[in-house]
Amino acid sequence: MPAVIISIDDFKERIEGYSPEHAGEFHVRSAKMADQEFDKIVKDSTFGRVIFLAGGSASGKTEYLHTYLLGENAIIFDSTFSTTEGAGIKIEKARKYCKETELHFIIPDDIKRAFTAFLGRERKFDDKVFYTTHSHSRSTLLWIINNYPEVDIKLIESYYKINELRYKEIQLQNRKSMLEYIKSIQYDIDEIVKKVV
């Protein structure tokens, strides 16, 4: 059975009057629609697995999904996980319905490249969205590793070579070394701004 994909960006396109130039104005509504869809599917479907995708804007999450995950027998939620509250609610829902939970977290090797893609894509958002999602998704990841030991976390590095987006899995010996690595890549918003200017 192919994966069921729940994507906030896909829901934007279903809202009347949507235009990519004003994508930011449709985000709250589309996120709510995606949350409702997730609640329904996680409760009703027979899938035993949920894969959450997370990471900052334009880090390559959706591209990763369509390159590697379409054949997975799972519910896939394409998000950023910019808040611990939102992430926690979804993980708890998956736990409530006895789903195995994975988090695939996408980290761009070059945050400036991700910012260039963010600015160049058709869906336009305020630049604050970029800084916030790249900063807060990393702190959410740290929070998840500390609070949800049952969540299987995969760290995926995106990189851009010969005009193509590619991926590597970052492999660490154990959860403790993963925790240390995640701590080392925490940045506040001002640090993200400095990295892309």
């Binding site: 334009a58 390559g60 959706t62 591209e63 999904l65 369509h66 390159t67 590697y68 379409l70 054949g71 490249r113 910012f115 260039t116 893609a117 963010f118 600015l119 160049g120 894509r121 058709e122 630049d127 604050k128 800084y131 995926i156 590095e157 851009y160 005009n163 193509e164 987006l165 590619r166 991926y167 590597k168 899995e169 970052i170 492999q171 660490l172 070394s177 690595y181 001002d190 701004v193 400095k194 200017v197």
Partner: protein, 92 residues
């Protein structure tokens, strides 16, 4: 820590192509930002500013001229490094 290359299961899909297009479009964007000698104009993908002007208006005018010719846009930055204004110049 080791890094393992992931072989694409679905290579050359439209999402990967769109990402490459976004990067190409993004690389052409002109930036106007504070410089020690005034205000600089720089293409995002360039290492150095193409022009530096004493006043901000002249820098914006130059960046807009380049952006019009290249069908891209201009980003004007504050001193804190955040974008204060975005000017579309027939960008597609």
């Amino acid at each position: 820590m080791t890094k393992k290359e992931l072989k694409p299961k679905n290579p050359n899909n439209n999402y990967l192509k769109s990402y490459s297009k976004a990067i190409k479009r993004g690389q052409k964007i002109q930036q106007v930002f504070p410089h020690r000698d005034g205000w600089a104009v720089k293409k995002i993908s360039a290492d150095k500013a193409s022009n530096v002007f004493v006043n901000k208006e002249s820098a914006i005018a130059k960046a807009s001229e380049i952006a019009r010719n290249q069908r891209t846009e201009v980003l004007i930055y504050n001193r804190d490094g955040k974008i204060s204004k975005r000017i579309l110049c027939g960008a597609k």
